[in-house]
């Protein structure tokens, strides 16, 4: 299988494709693998431009992050990909919701697999969000200038818990019903306005059809959109705040930098 000059490799075909007018009209940066083109591939893409075009080499080592943030994003993507088909088979009404869940288990093709994947990914996401938070803490990555991204992270932790919690009710089985009853009763303990919050959350004084509808809307619309909104800011702020190992965010560098500046100032004089 000697390669002759006339035969093109896959790479060359791909490069030709990238040169076409149509391709160029869709992807703004065009072909090529120069440093500039690679930077443009990030910078000129509406989604990727949230990230910086370059990162410190240290970021790539596994021990730097354990990829926990990336994996959390991964679970979120799996949850969106499985959640949308699940919505096609589900009515948020009593007792149809339970029947639909049963159908997913026994009637719908691969319905069982879809539901399993959604549920286990949801558990994984809650776990990974916590793990990510503790990893960031022990790294000290919340230090100046990255403080506010930590705050956004805490907001995302709460959104994740609410997403999981609202999804918990949707199968409308005994497990779901009583878990939500136990959880929502805690809201009643808030001084003065506890019962009002409880009523607002459930659309009634107990978990009922109104609560199911509310949790469904929260779970499928409001919370995922809110999560995406904050995730976008979360990613963008990594770049704006100087990235991982941002200069000055590490105590050792902080001290070294102060020493360097002092030494440089002395030399200049």
């Amino acid at each position: 299988m000697a390669k002759t000059d006339s035969s093109k490799t896959m790479d060359q075909y791909f490069e030709d494709l990238q040169q076409t007018r149509v391709w160029r009209s869709i992807f703004r940066s065009g072909p090529g693998s120069s440093t500039l083109k690679r930077a443009l591939a990030i910078q000129q893409n509406v989604f990727l431009h949230l990230f910086s075009t370059k990162v410190r080499v240290r970021v790539l080592s596994f021990s730097a992050t354990w990829y926990l943030g990336t994996l959390t994003l991964g679970t979120f993507l799996v949850l969106v990909a499985t959640g949308i088909p699940l919505m096609l088979y589900y009515h948020p009404s009593v007792p149809q919701a339970y029947a639909d869940t049963k159908d997913l288990q026994f009637v719908v093709s691969s319905g069982m697999f879809l539901r399993n994947l959604h549920r286990w990914s949801a558990h994984a996401m809650v776990f990974l969000v916590f793990a990510h938070m503790f990893k960031v803490f022990y790294r000290g990555a919340y230090r100046t200038p990255r403080e506010f991204n930590w705050v956004i992270g805490v907001i995302l932790l709460l959104i994740t818990l609410l997403l999981s919690y609202t999804g918990y009710l949707l199968p409308w089985d005994q497990l779901a019903y009583w878990a939500i009853t136990v959880g929502s009763n805690i809201a009643s303990a808030v001084p003065l306005i506890g019962n009002k919050i409880h009523f607002l959350l459930l659309g009634g004084n107990a978990v009922n059809a109104n609560a199911l509808l509310r949790f469904y809307v929260l779970h499928c619309m409001i919370l995922p959109l809110t999560a995406m909104f904050f995730v976008a800011i979360h990613f963008w702020r990594i770049r704006k705040d100087g990235g991982l190992y941002s200069h000055g965010s590490e105590p050792a560098t902080m001290k070294a930098a102060t020493a360097n500046v002092a030494a440089a100032a002395k030399e200049a004089r």
């Binding site: 990162v55 339970y98 288990q105 399993n116 549920r119 919340y142 506010f148 999981s164 303990a189």
Partner: protein, 235 residues
Amino acid sequence: MADSKDFVAGVDSNAKKSPRRIVFITRRTSAQVKAETEDQIQTFPEVLFRAAVAIEVLAVVLVWISLMFNAPLEGLADPSHTPNPAKAPWYFLGLQEMLHYFPPVVAGVLVPGLVVMALIVIPYFKVNIEADGLFLKDREKRQRIFYVVAATLSIFLLVFKVYVALAPTLIMAGVMLVAAYSCPQSTSAFRRYLAARPLSYWVMTWFLFELVLLTAIGTFFRGPGWSWIWPWQGS
């Protein structure tokens, strides 16, 4: 700088006019030296490729789990039949365990509220920015404060019979005691490590320990009437 200027510097704020920008170069300005000279690598393709591989490995693991284990589904929701025990989702079971000892307004509102508040303000307090070992400065004073705080917390938990939270507190206090009497010049690597831990490390590790333990107990060790059971006893 006594020579007269042939321009007027001012701030114009007419939003309808395209502003003219002028660069002023003052005399004694030199090129700024970049302090950071760390090696960098391009996000595309180096980082994106690794991220994609990580997410694919995750997807494979999740698919495998989903093929092996089925999500639980019990009978139709029945408001007139309360299961015993009725448990919240696993990540709230630490809180539910607390509810067993304290009134709802404490365990359900005050504690989680304070935890969230504490998490949010972490980067804004100097105690979390400092990275020096807790007992390296003012050793004797800080040891005294540590004894008082550890004893008060332990007695509080003892009075309310919260043994499941008392155990990790005592273990952490024991480790901190070792840290309190270790110095950075110690021959033992472990003691050198402990001596260098700052206060924020101790508080967060204690919190993590409590969180994991209470959640595990709520999940695996609680049966009917929130009584203690062993995981192998079933329910």
